[in-house]
């Protein structure tokens, strides 16, 4: 097959992936609304199909370009979406058995891919010399894995804040009821769930049954796990990037906008990890820090390439 044909196949599959994710998103949200297992199964099947199409699209793009398929923003975005969905299906649904977050994850993947095909599409071709290095493969892989896990963590954090608000409202409503509920039942009301943290959260689908979204404590722990998983990968990505910069640009660090923003993201998530270990910052406060980290991640990923010039904003688009 010719390069052109591979490129066509890659592009078609890219579109298949977007539409599958779209279907999956609808299915997941419908599942949230109606709690029918069938909806969840359909949504998961659509997500799986999209993931397969996404993956094959990335592989065929590599075949068309005769190199590893992560050399420009379009390709990073496809890979990011693929890893976010894959990470969700394996970690969140597979290991933690939380099913109700799918719609949000699909929305993120769709947005990433749509922006990529709208603004970043380039025909596959060889890389500019600075990108043609052994370290780029490592650096970009680590950066994308780290980003996808941070992104999942960010999505879960947003849901945590929503759920937390709702739970607090319920507690307030219960409190204002006269007469107060039986002591035994109200035992937990005064204990802010951020203190329950690691301790109590039963990570099972059972908790999702009635409440649709998992409990705030579950979401909080899940977000922490995802971010703690992502943090060393991101650290490694920054280090690999520095090694690459030392080889390509003669300095391991130069406060180039992309470097600066990956540093900012790193520092914010380091702050998040500290906040979780600091009395008085647990729960909502640290969640807000994680949210700021998520925004910083998006800026690192998009804004730097689109609006801020630097060595990293290759004219790959």
């Amino acid at each position: 097959m010719t390069d052109l044909q591979w490129a066509r196949i890659s592009q078609d599959l890219f579109n298949v992936a977007i539409f599958s994710y779209l279907a999956a998103m609808v299915g997941y949200f419908a599942y949230l609304a109606f709690q029918r297992d069938l909806l969840w199964k359909l949504a998961r099947a659509a997500a799986g199909l999209g993931l397969a199409a996404n993956l094959v699209s990335i592989l065929t793009r590599g075949l068309a370009a005769h190199r590893v398929p992560w050399g420009n923003m379009y390709e990073y975005s496809a890979l990011l979406a693929c890893l976010v969905v894959g990470g969700y299906l394996i970690v969140v649904e597979g290991i933690y058995k939380v099913r109700s977050l799918g719609g949000f994850v699909m929305a993120f993947a769709i947005l990433t891919m749509a922006i990529a095909s709208q603004f970043f599409y380039v025909t596959p071709g060889p890389l500019v010399p600075a990108l043609n290095s052994y370290w780029i493969k490592i650096h970009v892989q680590a950066a994308i894995w780290g980003s996808s896990l941070f992104a999942l963590g960010g999505i879960v954090t947003i849901l945590y804040l929503i759920q937390d608000r709702r739970e607090r409202k319920q507690v307030d409503a219960l409190r204002s009821q006269e007469p107060p509920p039986i002591m035994g039942a109200s035992l937990n009301l005064d204990a802010p769930h951020d203190l329950v943290d690691d301790a109590g959260a039963p990570m099972s689908a059972a908790t999702t049954g009635r409440k649709r979204l998992p409990s705030a404590a579950t979401l909080d722990t899940l977000a922490y796990r995802l971010i703690a998983f992502a943090f060393p990968i991101w650290t490694f990505a920054v280090i690999a990037g520095a090694i690459w910069a030392q080889e390509a640009w003669s300095r391991y660090w130069g406060w180039d906008p992309k470097e600066t923003w990956s540093f900012i993201t790193w520092v914010i998530f380091a702050g998040y990890l500290h906040a979780r270990a600091t009395a008085g910052w647990r729960g909502r406060k640290s969640a807000w820090i994680a949210l700021v980290g998520f925004v910083s991640l998006l800026i690192t990923y998009y804004a730097v390439n689109l609006w801020i010039v630097g060595l990293h904003s290759y004219k790959g688009f």
Partner: protein
Amino acid sequence: MPPSAAGFSLTQSVALVWRTLRSMRTALILLLLLALAAVTGSLIPQWPNSPERVLQYQAGHGLWGAFLQRAGAFDVFGSWWFVLITVLLFVSLVACLVPRTRATWRAVRQRPIQAREIDAFRHYRTIAVAAGPPEAVEASRRVLVRHLYRVARAEGTGDPTALAAEKGAAREVGSLLFHWAFILLLFGVIFGKGTGFSGYAVVTEGHTWVDARANYDGQIRTGRFFGGDFTGVGIHLRSFESDFRDTGQPMDFVSHVDLLDPQGNLIRSQDIRVNHPAKIDGLNIYQTAFGWAGVLEVRDGDQVLTRQDLVLSREPAPTGVPAFAMPWHGVLKVTSVRPQMAIEVELYPDSRALAQQLQTQQPVPMLVAYDPVISYKVWRGRLTDPSPTSLDTTFMKKTAEGVVGGGLTADLRTGKQLDPGRAAGGLTMSFPDLRHYSVLQVTRDRGVPIVLAAAILILLGLLPALYTSRRKVWVRAEAHGEGSVLQVGGFALQRKPQFEAEFDKLVEAIERAIDDGGSTTRVSDGSDREKVGSR
């Protein structure tokens, strides 16, 4: 220490500052401040990265620009406040690391502490076994050691058949390693940048460049503690190759060089290309840019006035025009004639591309040398500008202009190109050859290995700090009829839900190990006690 009546004494204030710096909250706030400072650095153009954009920004922002200038916002990462935040962060880091390290050191050496009431722990089981208390406890000890616990037996008369065990010290040790490694990182950065330098070498094909201060192109950037020691190493550029895509995007550029020792002996030959610097004598030599040098010879009759490989620079391209569509500029100065002479030169390396450009009125990149053409202007008068690259024509008059092709000669009086082979009298300029020059960045940073080592330690420390968990287990055996009853209690400091299964497995393993000696009966299956609200 007696509290002084009149407010804070000096020692008290120091102690207060120290206590504040030691708190995690301070570290957290400093980290967030650092992030905030870095944000400013990415939103406002930075002098070290893009001086032109700083000037542009200042021009457009009047008073605000002046304020930012005063505040150091155009060089955030070198500004006093960025340095202050960093210094405070590191002081805070040391302030909290020292006591933490001491505590960890003690904790690691200390034997695990016995528990008084095992049944008070969150995880608790009792099992009846056939073995006597000493044997049962010994078997438990072996199982715990096999599960990587540190185990201490109770001593003294009171409780000879109890033990305490814990594991997960790697968490704290890893965290300490991770934090200390930042100190090493900072040292590596300061040492490397402080004693290092960075500058540019411009070498034309066939020439040799020697590492000495005077030979650098323009300013070199030196660290604060730079000793002025240059190596005298030579770089001889044998040839240079560039490779482009059809779109004009550069694909690869390579300098084929011989590296020479200060005596001029060949050390080795090497290719320098993007991502593949040469390393010699502590120097790193990087391929950064390239261009054209016209070999130009000016004669007066038979007398050669000057022969140079004139390094030409490319005009910056306006937006939308490919960089390589622009001509290359230079000026050749001849001081040995009266009146003095300057020849302004404009090179079009590819005459095919030039023809196409003229025909279509569209910019066409000139990527290779193909029938190169030079257009020139001759100025006579007084040369006032000593710089080899710029020309001040205030006291000069243009006397001729024309074009000359590669391999040909032009008459500088008339501006006419001479037919090949024709001997010429008077002032002439010939253009026998066009060569590449290569721009190499030469840097020295002795801190790189230290920084790399610190980075590796950071990662190595981070993994156990985030992913290992501390657990404590206690066992006590009491004689019960023929055998004994074993109490096992457990407590997890991290990943508590996972410990439930771990604890079950541990108890089973203990049971099985004791079982090897006799039969066991389970007395109580003591389901885990939930202690609501406890941590």
